[in-house]
Amino acid sequence: MSQRPLELILARNLMSALSTPAFLVDEGGVLVFYNKAAGVLLGKRFEELGTVGPDEWGSLFGPFDERGEPIPYDKLPLVIAVRNGRPAHADFEIRSADGARHTVEASAFPILTAHGSRGAIAIFWPTSSNGTGG
């Protein structure tokens, strides 16, 4: 198992101390961590899930646009941040493991170093919840 870059280690340590839902991907877009607050939102702790590849983690929680249509993977703020190396923001709806729907604002920013991209962080800000879905 290779050593994680320090920037990801420090990001994870910070996120672990936050009550704001936060997600961390590495430079390849692999979801390598989300914090307890994000676990509450998704209905599943990171320890239950483990790392998830870049083509899979979007399906964990949707996401969906205001018409209920799935949002393409490459339109997600976290993907834009890690692929394009710039901040991105969006509003969308997610569905947690228990079926509850949440509208969130998501902001993502890249983790750039002198040696290139290390990954990206996204913070979710829930703006409303619609109870348990069917």
């Binding site: 198992m1 290779s2 050593q3 994680r4 870059p5 320090l6 920037e7 280690i9 420090l10 994870r12 340590n13 910070l14 672990s16 101390a17 002198a114 040696h115």
Partner: protein, 292 residues
């Protein structure tokens, strides 16, 4: 590989009768590789004595800086070989987005802090940012990696003739994390120290002192021991002693370290505090006597 501790103190030189045994000079470790190549790990005030010990003959050496805090570079302008035309010095260090390594070091080696400028040094000096990948110096493979401290900071691993030295003098791996339970790949500096023949690691604070210094970039005794245990380093030298710690206080910490190391299942005598002037040869043949 042979090494000598020329400076074991952290933060600021601390000379005086109360620190005479562990030493008052700041971080510097001299390393002689298996082919005789010379390395200096950091250039705190201890490098002055290293320079005086080198014969006044053509010398080529590499200085590996972990970072540019003053206690790790202060000895550069008092390093005698730097003032000889026949000396070639290669200084390695961390990159930074704000300026080159040369320009950042020149902030210290320039007026009004220094009577000489970098360009005035008589020796042949060059500055290199450490690469992300391994590189070679003589027979050794060198690896540098960023570690948790304040500002761009590296730890080093030197592999030579089947032995390995890990040098991480300024390190706070437990900042915001529990290194007893954290996965190995998420522990700062882990790959540098894993199974090292000898680990030289930050042990600046007692556990009682650490809560007042969270985020300052240094380890408590517990954190240093946990890091040593998790990485399975064969022998550990606690280093970068706090300037407020007298010889008497360090003796107490050394005893506490050995007791707690034994309680963690560690072999007796494989953890010790670094003394200025101590010499080691890798492979280490037997545990050193406990600090007394």
């Amino acid at each position: 590989m042979k090494l000598k501790l020329w400076g074991t103190r952290g933060s600021i030189p601390s000379p005086g009768p109360e620190t005479i045994r562990y030493g008052g000079n700041t971080s510097c470790v001299g390393v002689t590789l298996s082919d005789g190549s010379l390395l200096a790990l950091d250039a705190g005030t201890g490098i002055r004595s290293l320079g005086l010990a080198l014969a006044a003959e053509p010398t080529r050496l590499h200085i590996l800086l972990t970072h540019l805090h003053l206690d790790h570079i202060q000895g550069l302008v008092f390093f005698a070989p730097a003032f000889r035309t026949q000396t070639e010095i290669v200084i390695w260090g961390p990159s930074s987005p704000e300026a080159s390594l040369r320009d950042r070091i020149a902030r210290y080696i320039s007026a009004p802090l220094s009577p000489v400028e970098v360009r005035e040094l008589p020796c042949d000096v060059s500055f290199r940012h450490c690469p992300e990948s391994e590189w070679e110096i003589g027979p050794a493979r060198i690896r540098a990696a960023s570690v948790a401290h304040r500002g761009p900071t590296l730890g080093y691993r030197i592999d030579d003739a089947g032995c390995s030295l890990a040098y991480i003098p300024d390190h706070e791996p437990a900042l915001g994390a529990d290194i007893e339970t954290l996965e190995e790949d998420w522990i700062s500096g882990f790959a540098l120290a894993r199974d090292a023949s000898l680990l030289i690691h930050d042990g600046q604070y007692s556990d009682a002192e650490y809560p007042e210094h969270i985020g300052w970039g240094h380890s408590s005794l517990s954190h240093a021991l946990s890091f040593a245990r998790r990485t399975a380093a064969q022998r550990t030298i606690l280093f970068h002693h706090d300037p407020l710690h007298s010889d008497e206080r360090l003796d107490q910490l050394g005893e506490e370290a050995q007791e707690r190391w034994a309680a963690m299942g560690g072999a007796r005598g494989t953890v010790e505090l670094g003394f200025e002037g101590s010499e080691y040869e890798l492979p280490l043949r037997s545990p050193a006597p406990a600090a007394t």
